[in-house]
Symmetry: C2
Subunit: 389 residues, 2 copies
């Protein structure tokens, strides 16, 4: 993951925002266009395009502790989250409250506010560590990120699930900032519903198809609020009445985005032979090493640590607060360490376990320290905001 930045290798600590392509992705896309030209409409059958949401879904399932047949890949995270949130609220429509994490990723907040308002429900937004405590007998659904995008804090999935189920509520997790790095055990923790991103740690490419998980035990009664032809029991019967497909296919809506799925399928090959536990262990090694540097190499240069230190409370990123965080991040990028900035005041460094070594972490910390000691972030060109960061 590197090319020349002022004669150095670039160290990419932003795989938690957009992972890089593996060589297999280029090959797979080239093959896909050739196949499309040859098979044309026949590709849906002959090349397995029709089943890609399920076959790619099963590859992802393995990385989140889910048995096959519970994950489909298609659409954006926003659409997947909307679909499950509407469904969850419909399944608990006699209840009046939605519990969510405060300052969660904007899409999550906007959807929770919109869906709850429409269902006539109130929203309780609490710190990610207080989700379980906020659940009451009137809670319809708990919806929260597994790892907080800004702070890197990891939720206690098992405890939240147990508490919510005890009160009769459903739980919907957004694994966008954990899948591929943190060992979510969806089946073992009795998770109800989940969604996740594929272009961060999974390296599926910008805007790669996201995914939806629905626990086997819920599938039969799961409504799809966006009922499209692809989720129908018999899509080519062109039947008048919508009858949902058996199993996880019922959560599909429109025609599968094959280009994105082909790229993602190829990207996931990099995870063959890696268990969620192996990914998590290496991720903890990387973040642990960086946290050591925060106390040593980076001590006294002006950062304040935001991410919880405890192993069981941190995801795969380390967030550092700084009064001029935006300029600091730009200066670090200029010095060959790519992190990103998040409002307000956060330098975010992500550690993709399939891409980085401890030596990368050491080199990154040294370069960041050099930027801070030299005060090079004070250069006015680093203060200039770009549209997208």
């Amino acid at each position: 993951v590197s090319d020349g930045v002022e004669g150095q290798e670039r160290i990419y600590l932003d795989g938690n925002s957009l992972g890089p392509p593996t060589p297999r992705v280029a090959e797979a896309l080239a093959a896909w266009v050739r196949d499309w030209g040859e098979h044309l409409i026949g590709g849906w059958n002959e090349l397995g395009w029709w089943d890609l949401p399920v076959t790619v879904g099963d590859r992802i399932a393995r990385l989140v502790g889910a048995a096959p047949g519970q994950v489909v890949a298609a659409d954006s995270v926003t659409v997947n989250l909307y679909r499950l949130l509407e469904a969850a609220v419909a399944l608990r429509r006699d209840r009046r409250r939605v519990v969510t994490a405060a300052d969660d990723f904007p899409t999550d907040r906007y959807l929770v506010a919109s869906v709850a308002a429409r269902a006539g429900m109130e929203v309780d937004a609490v710190p990610i560590g207080s989700l379980a405590d906020a659940v009451g007998d009137d809670t319809a659904v708990v919806v929260a990120s597994h790892v907080h995008y800004r702070t890197g804090e990891l939720a206690d999935m098992a405890r939240v699930n147990v508490t919510a189920h005890h009160r009769g509520a459903l739980v919907l997790w957004d694994l966008s900032h954990s899948v591929g790095a943190v060992d979510a055990a969806l089946d073992a923790t009795d998770t109800d519903l989940a969604v996740g991103c594929s272009y961060k740690y999974l390296n599926g490419g910008p805007g790669a198809p996201a995914w939806t998980y629905v626990a086997h035990r819920l599938l039969e009664s799961m409504p799809n609020p966006i009922p499209g032809w692809v989720g129908h029991l018999e899509p080519f019967a062109m039947a008048d009445r919508y009858v949902p497909a058996a199993g996880i296919r019922r959560m599909l809506s429109g025609t599968p985005p094959v280009a994105g799925l082909a790229a993602l399928d190829a990207a996931l090959e990099a995870f063959d032979g890696w268990t969620p536990g192996m990914l998590r262990e290496h991720s903890l090694t990387l973040t642990g090493r960086f946290l050591d540097h925060v106390d040593t190499t980076l001590a006294g240069v002006g950062f304040e640590l935001v991410t919880p230190r405890a192993r069981e409370r941190r995801g795969s990123q380390v967030s550092l607060q700084h009064p001029q965080a935006y300029a600091v991040v730009q200066a670090c990028i200029d010095a060959g360490v790519v992190g990103d900035y998040r409002e307000p005041g956060i330098c975010r460094f992500g550690f993709a376990p399939r891409l980085l070594t401890v030596a990368d972490v050491d080199a990154a910390a040294e370069r960041i320290a050099a930027v801070m000691r030299a005060g090079s972030w004070r250069d006015p060109r680093f203060a200039e905001r770009r549209t997208v960061t």
Copy 2:
């Protein structure tokens, strides 16, 4: 669009189901993966990924008679249609009826039924030629395909729009089976809302991002029922409250599907220099020629014409009924003419104006006639159903 089928060139009359790739698509995808690896997260700014839904949308706008700034490309047709239908119903929530085309494409029917039921509205499903007559003072929205997927009948967009507006209703057109072949004049006919497919006549690839059109005059008050971060006025402010973006960006929800958009953008280059009128004229020449063959070359071989003959009432496909239509289509494919089968009993032949010549139409008709005269469709192997057709 051809390769060897028993020593002959294959004639592809299924571009109305899935268009073929142009050489530019392979180049563009290869370049895209290289760029992604080089620019990584910077690609959102530096390579224009963030704006692709709008820039690709403007390329499509030109083909449907829409001024720039009214079309965005992202998500599936199903999701785009759902979004606009929910919005339209919300904008006319004091009314009680939805008018739609009978036997429309399944996704359209399922969404209309679901959204109307939820809004407490009744559905009036009428023949595509009777849409205008069905509009009443209690109609909230008219939603229908511009060209019917099964019969190839073309709706009278201008008349429906005028009638609906006279009664205070909104109109939402699904241009999946017309964009790239029929000259929809969305602005000139005062259309309110539209969606369309990009993998049929536009050749964007299987499951390519679909698109949404919202008339300028409606944009300011247009709600987005799937409010995500990408449609926010300031996506990177990570603001607590959802404030929609100015203009057509407000209809976006999640992160743009860049692989699919890059392929589609390249595919659309084939339409540079082609006006909607030119596409329509050539399409009419092709379908007119095939209709001539139906009366001559294909007379007396067992087909019944389903598509209206009149220029102003037909789209870019010709549908023929036959008691053994499924087997007939398979036998034609075997003889090098690729059409498709649609329930119940329809052989569907699509004529993509950017791909086909009159000579292709003549050759196709001759081959179909030969299949029918020889009765080769009676071969039992042609009766065997595949999952996806």
